[in-house]
């Protein structure tokens, strides 16, 4: 008698525990993450050909959360890519805090949840132009105090007759630049044409320097 009660109870418990693993309750995963550094409109991410627009944050500098609408099941793969950059910016999958590799592509279920990191930076372009008539040694050009310097090579004797191209370090979109002659070459005075401006979407190649005898 005793054993006949225990047997059905065991069978019931087993059935209940099997149901817990049952097909209808499969774990689902949302392909989600955050984008840092977005300032301008236009970012579009994609997973499995499904596009997802990401707008800049309402609070400047904040990270923006994103989540694709379709849920994945355990074992499904995902690969989030940037298919359109914001204006004036470039975005890429990045290494999450505490990670070693970018985590934009993986298999659902390998981690408890999916939290992809994407980082955007403002595009930057060099400032430069040509130097004409340089015969003296020691010319140094500068872009303010933090924009870097360019030191011209000592001219050969006789000096080259073709203009020398120069480039100062890159400047971010929307940032001002002002090229000045930080050190004049020996025996000459150089002036800069088109020395100032605000960086646009292409490198500046018109800050031309002309040097004449002092």
């Amino acid at each position: 008698m005793k054993s006949s009660l225990i047997r059905p109870a065991l069978a019931l418990a087993l059935a209940a525990s099997l149901a817990a693993c049952g097909g209808s309750d499969k774990a689902e995963f949302t392909v989600a993450g955050s984008v840092t550094g977005v300032v301008y409109d236009g970012l579009v991410l994609s997973n499995a050909s499904v596009p997802l627009k990401v707008a800049p944050p309402t609070t400047a500098g904040a990270a923006v959360r994103f989540a694709f609408p379709d849920k994945l099941e355990y074992g499904d793969t995902y690969a989030v890519t940037v298919i359109a950059n914001p204006l004036h910016q470039t975005c890429e999958p990045s290494v999450p805090d505490g990670g070693i590799y970018a985590n934009n592509a993986d298999t659902a279920g390998r981690l408890v949840s999916i939290d992809i990191a994407i980082n955007c930076r403002i595009n930057e372009y060099t400032v430069g132009g040509t130097i004409t008539g340089l015969t003296g040694a020691g010319l140094v050009l500068a872009n303010g105090s933090t924009g870097g310097t360019y030191t011209a090579e000592t001219p050969k004797n006789p000096p080259a007759t073709t203009p020398i191209a120069y480039e100062l370090p890159p400047v971010k979109f929307g940032t001002t630049y002002g090229v000045t002659v930080s050190k004049q070459p020996a025996g000459q005075v150089c002036t800069v044409a088109n020395p100032t401006g605000t960086m646009g979407d292409a490198k500046v190649q018109s800050a031309n320097v002309t040097c004449v005898a002092a």
């Binding site: 872009n143 303010g144 105090s145 933090t146 001002t176 002002g178 000045t180 100032t196």
Partner: protein, 197 residues
């Protein structure tokens, strides 16, 4: 005779091997990256000793990799601090990451960043009847009509500066005197902007 040579050379070989692995010197690097080194005088210590002056990098950026000449051993505790700084650096400004720990393998990830001392940059304006925009590279300052002085963002010692006009005031043209130079140990306040007509 033969065996005595053999013994001597064996002993020598042993000595060489032992020296190579020598206890005090260790075999692991202790280093990382430091910024703020444009002049001699940046001295680091490990556990209060092993004073090491960081060589000045030649590229003028002040940023360089460093590694203590004295190696450390596996499991050694380390604590790297700035002992003294060059004359153009504020010691209180130095910030550290990963500068303490216990060596497992070569330590190359210490980060030390020290800020340069800065000086004010500014001057006077005369006859300004509209809005003038001055820049020093990426630093942009709007000078309103009627202003007689202006102040740019502070500039690090030894850094160049070049104050230029981004936008002239309406119907006026301005010129700048003393707008270019290299920041020394004192404030610069002699940049002169003159507008006409």
């Amino acid at each position: 005779m033969k065996s005595s040579y053999l013994r001597a050379s064996a002993a020598l070989a042993c000595a060489v091997v032992l020296t190579a692995c020598g206890g005090d010197d260790g075999q692991l690097l202790l280093g990382g990256t430091i910024s703020g080194v444009t002049r001699p005088g940046m001295v680091l210590t490990n556990n209060g000793g092993s004073d090491f002056e960081v060589p000045v990098p030649s590229n003028g950026t002040g940023v360089t990799q460093f590694s203590f000449p004295q190696l450390i051993s596996s499991d050694d505790k380390y604590d790297v601090q700035v002992k003294s700084v060059p004359s153009n650096v504020n010691k209180d400004s130095c910030r550290y990451r990963y500068n303490t720990g216990r060596a497992g393998f070569n330590v190359v990830n210490i980060e030390i960043s020290c800020a340069f001392k800065t000086q004010a940059l500014g001057g006077t304006v005369s006859n300004l009847k509209g809005e003038l925009v001055l820049i020093n590279g990426s630093d942009r300052v709007i000078v309103p009509a009627g202003a007689t002085t202006f102040t740019m963002a502070p500039v690090a010692q030894d850094a160049p500066y070049g104050v230029s006009i981004l936008t002239n005031p309406a119907n006026q043209s301005c010129t700048i005197a003393n707008g270019v130079g290299t920041m020394g140990p004192a404030d610069v306040n002699n940049v002169t902007v003159t507008c006409a007509p």
